[in-house]
Symmetry: D2
Subunit: 385 residues, 4 copies
Amino acid sequence: MVPLARELTRAVGGDAARHVHLGATSQDIMDTAAMLVSRRAGAVIRADADIVCAALAALSGEHRATIMAGRTLLQQALPTTFGAVAAGWLNGVGTAAQALDEVIEHRTAAQLGGAAGTLASLEGRGPAVAAAFADELGLAEPVLPWHTDRGPIVELAGALARVCGATGKIAGDIALLAQTEVGEATEEGGAGVGGSSTLPHKRNTIAAVSALGCAEQAPGLASTLFAAQVQQHQRAAGPWHAEWLPLSRLLGVTGSAVAWLRTSLERLAVHPERMRANLDLTDGFPLAERVTTDLAGELGRLPAHELVQSACQEAADSGRALAEVLTERLQGRRTGSEIASLLDPAGYLGATGAFVDRALAAHAERTARRGTGPAGDPARNRSRT
Amino acid sequence: MVPLARELTRAVGGDAARHVHLGATSQDIMDTAAMLVSRRAGAVIRADADIVCAALAALSGEHRATIMAGRTLLQQALPTTFGAVAAGWLNGVGTAAQALDEVIEHRTAAQLGGAAGTLASLEGRGPAVAAAFADELGLAEPVLPWHTDRGPIVELAGALARVCGATGKIAGDIALLAQTEVGEATEEGGAGVGGSSTLPHKRNTIAAVSALGCAEQAPGLASTLFAAQVQQHQRAAGPWHAEWLPLSRLLGVTGSAVAWLRTSLERLAVHPERMRANLDLTDGFPLAERVTTDLAGELGRLPAHELVQSACQEAADSGRALAEVLTERLQGRRTGSEIASLLDPAGYLGATGAFVDRALAAHAERTARRGTGPAGDPARNRSRT
Amino acid sequence: MVPLARELTRAVGGDAARHVHLGATSQDIMDTAAMLVSRRAGAVIRADADIVCAALAALSGEHRATIMAGRTLLQQALPTTFGAVAAGWLNGVGTAAQALDEVIEHRTAAQLGGAAGTLASLEGRGPAVAAAFADELGLAEPVLPWHTDRGPIVELAGALARVCGATGKIAGDIALLAQTEVGEATEEGGAGVGGSSTLPHKRNTIAAVSALGCAEQAPGLASTLFAAQVQQHQRAAGPWHAEWLPLSRLLGVTGSAVAWLRTSLERLAVHPERMRANLDLTDGFPLAERVTTDLAGELGRLPAHELVQSACQEAADSGRALAEVLTERLQGRRTGSEIASLLDPAGYLGATGAFVDRALAAHAERTARRGTGPAGDPARNRSRT
Amino acid sequence: MVPLARELTRAVGGDAARHVHLGATSQDIMDTAAMLVSRRAGAVIRADADIVCAALAALSGEHRATIMAGRTLLQQALPTTFGAVAAGWLNGVGTAAQALDEVIEHRTAAQLGGAAGTLASLEGRGPAVAAAFADELGLAEPVLPWHTDRGPIVELAGALARVCGATGKIAGDIALLAQTEVGEATEEGGAGVGGSSTLPHKRNTIAAVSALGCAEQAPGLASTLFAAQVQQHQRAAGPWHAEWLPLSRLLGVTGSAVAWLRTSLERLAVHPERMRANLDLTDGFPLAERVTTDLAGELGRLPAHELVQSACQEAADSGRALAEVLTERLQGRRTGSEIASLLDPAGYLGATGAFVDRALAAHAERTARRGTGPAGDPARNRSRT
């Protein structure tokens, strides 16, 4: 700061020169600069997050009825739709980006306290100068100087690490869906970008992997910022200095993670036929409980359960199709086509459609509520923190 | 969950028995329980935080004019007041507790998605049941099941780690102020609690140290929760399981940190005479710039600066009082009492009074806005997350 | 400590009573106890790690020639063997467990320094008493009291977190191999343990997932211990207290992670036929470069490359088998069986056999070198730290 | 890597060109480069650590008899010597630097495994090439490729974070000792470097604070590396990429922390007279137990204890000197000079002298054992990891 203040004084010249840096301490400038940088970085992150959310909203609507396996503990469980999956991604990253936005818009606060946080050298005009300073910069005016109250830093850290997590979750799922043996979604980056003609089976999800590689750096960086809150007296001896690089890196990895996810989604090819083929690997077993329910009225619950369980066992042991075994056993009670219908995943999608609609509505509401942001209108950020 | 569902089924009995756990998966119960536990823990934390804030508000008002050294990098810098110091503590922990409250009140969401997040076994009634479930429990109704969207967990983690940081900052300052050589504030826990008649110089700030010991565990725990956001597909294979203990411990260390800080403040004795004596160790040097400013009009800025700097040098080299050297050098321009007045810290407290008032007003506003909380009226928590 | 010392004094009685706790401070007892607990926990971890290593060594030898896909970025790349995969697991967890062992055996140090680390109340006999104390407990005798030099704690933390990582890596791979669409290895825990007759497709790797859930808690806990090294003066005001629970939890999650991995391996079923079938999904493309190399001598490198690349392109575009296209194009130069041989993964396993042998030899060496451990012979741990 | 390999191929030319990057995958080059960079960074860190240790050894010897207060929980407890304090610092940072050295010298391993860790494209010569590769670079030859066994990375991470902790502990103590009210050690960096003529009371320990600011970034970075151990299959999809920046930053902050500590020690001025004056603030109370012990033989333990405790109480309540009260109460039993001698801290320094000697001997042994390091003689690093 010392050479900067000297150069500024020189550049300003005249009577104004003696007002350069008047009343301020180095930390005032550094903290305020960190907030301004965070706002600029935040605008970049938001722009990419907007594109990510738009892409996910489109995927969600488009694949509202695309049946695929829902997976738990990495195993196929019950059917779901890719629309519902994309709706979950959208809601996760959309709400995380919105929460970051709130912090960036309303909580990035100017810092002006002078050497010991009293603004003594501004005499009686300290608070007025601090208010004008915040106003000029479009930053929130804090109740007090926050030299050793690092709330604004950790709010930002938490919001950034959350965006990284939501981004990493989606990127991780894409990498899993693109596995050679799964192949339900792939990044199609063209020759030289994760694919090649000599290795046509290889669909490296370079962008998703890069997003993950960035996102996974956030928790450690955030923990450094959380730990640095214990700052001594009026200005700290170490913890403040420990914030500089982690905050900068955290903005960097968040921006990179979101940008890589955007790229991944731009390259994303969805393969509904593979989704369906993979789901068929489980041969209707996940829906066996529907048959039990269907029979419970006429057989009683327990006998129905035992009948179905025994059929499942036979199918699994013999390798015969479950529908075939059930049709055999339920002759006279249910036709083959009734059984096929009970075992059809398309009939067991629960609230997936409603969830897609809800996610899209919430997305639309977030988008509408936002309008122009802090870059567009700094005057909106007049709140006190 | 399996034995619990079995026991509940047995306990319920009759026709209702078949509705126990219907449509739910283990994670629904675990996540919802985690939210309910967090609300209960949050109420305990808030109750202690309220007492902490009330104590700090009282200290801040009471010591609005108690002069002490403002310290930067662990060195005395410029004068401040203990009222302003306590106001900074109040604002830090008060806003952190309020942010936690917001999360606890509005963001703790019910979880009900069934095995793959589709609520398929509830047939068309999934969303309606989920809404009723959230309502019954006084938890927010999420837009979608959040089995692998861990926003609610990390919002909580971030808010808890922030409270720990704000608490640790205060506890750390108390431990520093209580140092044998500083002695400006001490914990007076009575015989056997940090003090003893045979070691009357020893004022162990047991409570503040314990608060710090708890608070410093938060960043690592929070980082585990942030890292665990990358959860696979519809329900995760590891990261979800990795959340259980850290969330529980994070609630625990936050509650303990705040409770220990409460105890520390209950025991706190403030020693204004030591504050003043310590400040006098610096013999007016921090205020030398006021003399420069005062002389600048009649001497010109640069000559005034050089005169004062040379006087400081002489005082430092010779060990004479700065006031004495300045009086000698400024004979005919300023009287000894004018110089004493310029060097009097009481005249150079800047905005400390205003800052105390602002912090108290913000505290009053937070207190008023809150009123009864979630425990008092679950109906207030109807927001969708 | 105070009530414990009182009870011990009472229990000892007589003249000996006044020697209870003589010269010691609470931290001496707590730190020494932490080391003793760590040794006991370490013995448990080692016992499970030994079983894990033995199981992996057996798998590695047994599957030395079991061909499977080597996967990079979650995509099939080149062939490898399951023996080589298990050898990598063995080497990772084996060396991590050995490093932990070294720390547990040689670096767990007794603590005896008295209130300020000077052993003043033992008069001239301080170091002799400290040496006898360490000897009695079978702990290393430190050069100095380490009240605020936390090397012994963080060495342990690093070694434990490394074991967790090596364990988590294996568990993660098992969960991936067990995916419904991959099915190359599964946990066969029997009915009710990750599998069921009604959901025969579901092979939840409960044990591997639990191992991961434990392992993923280690980095955050370790970071708290690393951060707690900055301890003030002769005994710390907070950071030491912040160590207690994380160290205890870190021992816990490491022990649990290794125990769960042991269980996972006990349940592990390997499916070589699925490994081969999955590898065949890539239809020889990964080995196309072998054909290029084979032709380079007679055609020149570039023409050979272009010929093979063009064949690959045609096969990929048309969906025909690569071997078929190549046979057609290389008529007169190579027979169909020569081409089949070049594309046979069994001929392109590189050093997998040698690597299995090296991993088994290193394992045998580690096992032999160890012999009886600290529990067996405390006298072995006489090194000074 | 792709453009680098292309440029190298061009630069090499001729027949050799086709051997460039032969058999290697990008990760081989990146990991090996990371190890080479770590060795170079390690040499720089060691050089500064050597200077730090030499400075601490000199301080320890020089101040073997310099009495000061031993402090616990930031309170004066019992007397110690600054020599013993410096010996503790020396032992902490010396053993941490040695442990880092061990890792750098013996555990930095070459990486060569090819695309799937099988070295298939090197045909039968894989292990031989890998051995020659390691030899050429002076790196350890690993048992197996360690693409997804990150032991070498986390050993390094743990060792670096330990050095940071040991460095931060010393820096933190210096900052505390330099407090305005303590003044026992200061950084004398000259005008403009933490001090100024207008603020002669200000002794900002800029270097120590900067060391702390660097050191406190290590735990978060290390935790990211520990977490990144869970790498999938043969080469990872994210966690490996997450290592790059944190490892680089961790080397950076460790080097900076040690360099700043070196600077701090170069600037360090020790003030024995302030040490003594501060200790005298406690007026002999810490040594009261010596009087009890001295009287126990003739009065019995309990009466002796009660007499001394009552004298302490009176002194504390009345503000009179403890020696004076004791002399009055023990008239006929002990002379004033006998009492003064019992209360003299110089007689109650315990094993501080022995501890200084032990720390210096251990330091000498570490220095001797090392001799020339890896940079001097790469051939020494032939161990297999």
